[in-house]
Amino acid sequence: MSTGEHAQVHPVRPALVFLSLLILLAGLAYPGLATGVAPYLSDVTSPGSSGGAIHSGPNGTSYSGYLGENITCAYRANLSTCPYRALFWTRPSEADYQPFSGAGNESPYGPTDPALRNETLFYINATGPFNSSNPCGIPLELVSDSASGLDPDVSVCGALVQIPRIAHFSHLTERQLQDLVNANIQGSGVPYIGAKYVNVVELDMDLIALVSSGGTG
C-alpha cells in the first residue's frame, strides 16, 4: 500500500502545535478582533449594545436595555405595602432579576407539577383583583417564570391587563396608561420577525416620568 510507506507521524508534536495555533487564533485573535470592531459595528444599528446596552436613567441611575428588574408584587400577600403597586410589573423570576446569579433561573417545576398550578394560582391571586374585566384574560407570561429569569418584557396584553390596578393606585386615567403602553410597544425591528412586546423597565420609567410631570403627559 502506498499509504503505508510513510513513517507514521508521531501525534504529540502536531497536536501541541495545532493546539497552540488554536489558542492564538481562536482564543485570542478571534475575540480580540471582534471586540476591536464591535463599538463601530454596533453603532450602526443600536449604539452601546456591544457593551451590554447600558443606558442611564434619571438621578444617576442606570439600566440595561436587555435586562429586567425585580418590579413585582406578585409574591406579596398584601398589595398595600408593596412599593410597586402603582407600576407595571415584570414577570416573576426565580433569580429576582439578578444577572450575576445565573443558577436556578428556571422554574423547578415540571409541566404537570401540582406545585406549578398552585404557584400560578398564587400569582393570579396576587395580580387578580384588578384585571377581571380585561378582555385579554390573564396572560400566562405575567404569572410565570421566564427561561432566563431576566426577561424584561411582557406581552402587550400583559401590560394592558395591569392598567386597572395602576389606575387604582395612581391618579392616572386608564386612557393615559393605555397610551403609555401603546407608545412602548416594541418588536425586533425587522418586519414579520419576533413578537410584539413591552419592555416593562422602560415602560415604568416613562410611567414614573409621567407621574412626576403631573400626569398630564
Binding site: F18, A26, Y30, A34, G52, L67, P108, P111, A147, Y197
Partner: protein, 562 residues
C-alpha cells in the same frame, strides 16, 4: 389558538438554510478534496507554514487507525489543557469577577464536555469561569470539537469512494476545517451578532444602579464571538447559564434566527458535501429529505405541544400566546420552538426555553431528537450517524431485494455491520445504565419536582451527554462527584465510540473491492428508499427508547405518576 404570525419567517429561515447549505456543501467538497477554493490566496501560505511547524506531510494518506490516533491525541491535548486552565484559573489573570479554580471533577467534566462538543455545564459560567478560561480554554475547545467532527465526516465520506484503505490526513482535515470553514464563518457570525446587538467586549462586568435600588453586577464578555462558534460549531455551551434565553446572549428575534441559521448550516451542508465527494450528486436528496422531514415533524410537534398546557386550564390563565412558562417574551412561540428544536436536533444543546418546564409532549419531542442524533445532529458526527443508520437500513433493505446489501458501490459486510452495531448499542448503554444506577443507588438530589419529573430530568441529563447535546433541565443538582464523573464517561463514550466506528467503517469501506451499482442495485435515490429509511430509523430508535419515555415524560403527561 396558536400564535402563528411569525410562521412565515420560520419557514423562510429553513429555506434560507437549505439555500446556504447547498452553497456551503459545494465549498466544503472543494476544500476537502484539495481543489482550488475561495480563501486559497490568504490561507495557503499560512497552512503550509503550519504543516511544516507540525512536521506533517499533508499529502500523506492515513489508514483509519493512524487517523484515529492523531485525532484522539489532539483532542486529549485540548482536554488536558482546558482541565489545567479551569483547575488553576483562580490564580491566573483575567479573572476580575473572582471565579475560583474548579474542583478536579468539575474541571474534568467541563473540559470533557467542551472537547466532546457536548458543552454540558455543571457550573454557573457567570460565577465560575474566568475570562481567560472562557477564551483560551472553552472558546478554543469549541473550535477544536467542531473541527474534529467535520474531519470525521470528511474521512468517513472518503471511505466510500477510495479503494486503497486510506481515509485522508487528519492534520490536513482539521486544519482546513478550522481555517477554511469555522474561523471565517464564525467571524462572519460574530459580526452579524454584533450588528444585531449582542454584547462584545473584553470587559468582564459592568455595574449598574437601577432605580429600584441597590447595585447590580452585569457579567459581560466576548459574547458575540462566543455565540458565533457556539452555534456554528453546534457546541451549545452558554456564555451565560441561561444560554440563549439570556437577553444578553440572544437579545432579539433577529439574533435568534441568526443562531438558528448558524446551527443548521454545517449539518445541512453535509449531505451536499457528501454527495459531491462521492461523485453522486443525486444521493444528497434522500439524505436531506430524511433529515428535513423528521426535523420539520419535530418542529411542528414542538409548536403543537407548546401551544397550550391543559394542566393549567383550570387556573383560568390565558395561553393565547402559547404555553410560555420558561419561554422569553421577545420571541413568538414558533420562533422559540424553532430555536429549541434546532438546537436539540442539531445536538447544539443551547437553550432559549426552560426545558424542564416544557409540556410532556414537547419534552418527548426533544428526547426524540437526541435519541436519533442524526436529524441533522452535530457538525460532522450527526451526518456520520445518519450514514451509519443508512448502512443499517440498507443492510436489511438490501437483503429484501435479494442482493448482498451495497451502498454507493460498496458492499456492506460484517466489518461495517460490526462497527455500526457498536454505535447503535453505545447510545442506549450510555444513557440507560447510568440512569438506572442513579436511581438504584439514590445518587441524585433535586430542587423540586414530581417523581416522574425527576426521572425525566436524570434521563435527560444522560441522554444529552451521550448525544453530545449539552442541554439540561435545571432542577437536578448535577455538580456532584457522581454526575461529574458519570457524565464525563458518558460524554467520552458517546463521542469517541461513534467517531472510531465511523473512521473504522470508512477505513473498511476503502479497503473493500468496488461493487459498481448496476441495474439490479437498490436505488437509494428513490422515494421508496427514502420512506423506508425514515421508517427504519424511527422504528428501531423507537423500540429502544419507548419504555423509558413512558416512565419519564409520558408519566408526567398523566397525573404526575401513579
Amino acid at each position: 389558538m396558536i400564535e402563528l404570525s411569525t410562521l412565515p419567517d420560520v419557514i423562510l429561515t429553513i429555506l434560507l438554510v437549505i439555500f446556504l447549505a447547498r452553497a456551503l456543501g459545494l465549498y466544503l467538497s472543494k476544500v476537502f478534496m484539495g481543489r482550488p477554493s475561495l480563501l486559497d490566496p490568504i490561507m495557503v501560505p499560512f497552512e503550509s507554514a503550519l504543516m511544516r511547524l507540525m512536521g506533517v506531510d499533508p499529502d500523506h494518506q492515513m489508514k483509519w487507525k493512524e487517523y484515529a490516533v492523531a485525532l484522539l491525541s489532539l483532542n486529549a491535548a485540548g482536554l488536558i489543557f482546558a482541565f489545567l486552565l479551569l483547575t488553576f484559573q483562580g490564580g491566573l489573570p483575567l479573572n476580575s469577577l473572582g471565579a475560583p479554580g474548579m474542583s478536579w471533577d468539575l474541571a474534568l467534566h467541563t473540559a470533557a464536555s467542551f472537547t466532546t462538543n457536548t458543552d454540558f455545564q455543571h457550573y454557573v459560567p457567570e460565577q465560575q469561569v474566568s475570562l481567560l478560561s472562557s477564551m483560551l480554554g472553552l472558546l478554543v475547545l469549541m473550535f477544536l470539537s467542531a473541527a474534529t467532527g467535520i474531519s470525521v465526516m470528511v474521512a468517513f465520506t472518503r471511505g466510500f469512494s477510495r479503494r486503497d484503505g486510506s481515509i485522508g490526513n487528519f492534520y490536513f482535515d482539521v486544519t482546513q476545517a478550522f481555517t477554511r470553514v469555522l474561523l471565517p464563518l464564525s467571524v462572519l457570525g460574530a459580526l452579524l451578532f454584533i450588528l444585531a446587538g449582542v454584547p462584545q467586549t473584553l470587559t468582564q462586568s459592568v455595574t449598574i444602579y437601577p432605580w429600584t435600588g441597590g447595585a447590580q453586577t452585569i457579567p459581560l464578555g466576548p459574547v458575540a464571538a462566543w455565540d458565533g462558534i457556539e452555534f456554528l460549531g453546534t457546541n451549545g455551551g452558554g456564555f451565560y447559564a441561561a444560554n440563549a434565553a439570556n437577553p444578553l446572549q440572544n437579545p432579539s428575534a433577529v439574533t435568534n434566527l441568526i443562531s438558528v441559521v448558524l446551527m443548521l448550516l454545517i449539518p445541512f451542508a453535509s449531505p451536499f458535501m457528501f454527495s459531491r465527494m462521492v461523485r453522486r450528486e443525486q444521493e444528497a436528496r434522500p439524505l436531506l429529505a430524511t433529515i428535513l422531514s423528521i426535523f420539520l415533524l419535530g418542529l411542528f410537534l414542538m409548536i403543537f405541544f407548546q401551544s397550550s398546557n391543559p394542566f393549567l386550564a383550570s387556573t383560568g390563565v390565558s395561553q393565547s400566546g402559547g404555553y410560555l412558562v420558561g419561554a422569553e417574551q421577545r420571541f413568538t412561540l414558533p420562533e422559540s420552538a424553532l430555536f429549541q428544536v434546532t438546537s436539540i436536533y442539531s445536538n447544539t444543546g443551547a437553550t432559549s426555553m426552560a426545558l424542564g418546564s416544557l409540556t410532556p409532549g414537547a419534552q418527548i419531542d426533544l428526547f426524540w431528537g437526541m435519541f436519533l442524533q442524526c436529524v441533522p445532529g452535530g457538525d460532522g458526527t450527526g451526518f456520520g450517524m445518519l450514514l451509519i443508520n443508512v448502512i443499517l437500513a440498507i443492510f436489511v433493505g438490501g437483503l429484501m431485494v435479494g442482493r448482498t446489501p451495497e451502498y454507493l458501490g460498496n458492499k456492506i459486510g460484517k466489518h461495517q455491520m460490526k462497527w455500526a452495531a457498536v454505535t447503535i448499542l453505545s447510545h442506549p448503554f450510555a444513557i440507560l445504565i447510568p440512569t438506572a444506577i442513579t436511581f438504584v443507588f439514590g445518587l441524585a438530589s433535586f430542587s423540586g419536582g414530581t417523581a416522574a419529573h425527576q426521572f425525566t430530568v436524570v434521563l435527560y441529563e444522560f441522554t444529552s451527554e451521550s448525544a453530545n447535546n449539552g442541554s439540561g433541565m435545571s432542577s437536578l443538582n448535577d455538580n456532584t462527584l457522581f454526575f461529574n464523573l458519570a457524565g464525563t464517561i458518558v460524554m467520552l463514550v458517546g463521542r469517541y465510540l461513534p467517531i472510531i466506528a465511523m473512521l473504522a467503517i470508512g477505513g473498511s469501506l476503502a479497503s473493500t473491492d468496488p461493487a459498481p451499482p448496476g441495474p439490479g442495485t437498490l436505488k437509494t435515490n428513490s422515494a421508496t428508499f427514502t420512506i423506508y429509511l425514515i421508517l427504519f430509523i424511527t422504528i428501531v430508535t423507537g423500540l429502544l427508547f419507548l419504555p423509558v419515555l413512558v416512565m419519564g415524560p409520558f408519566a408526567q403527561g398523566a397525573l404526575g405518576g401513579p
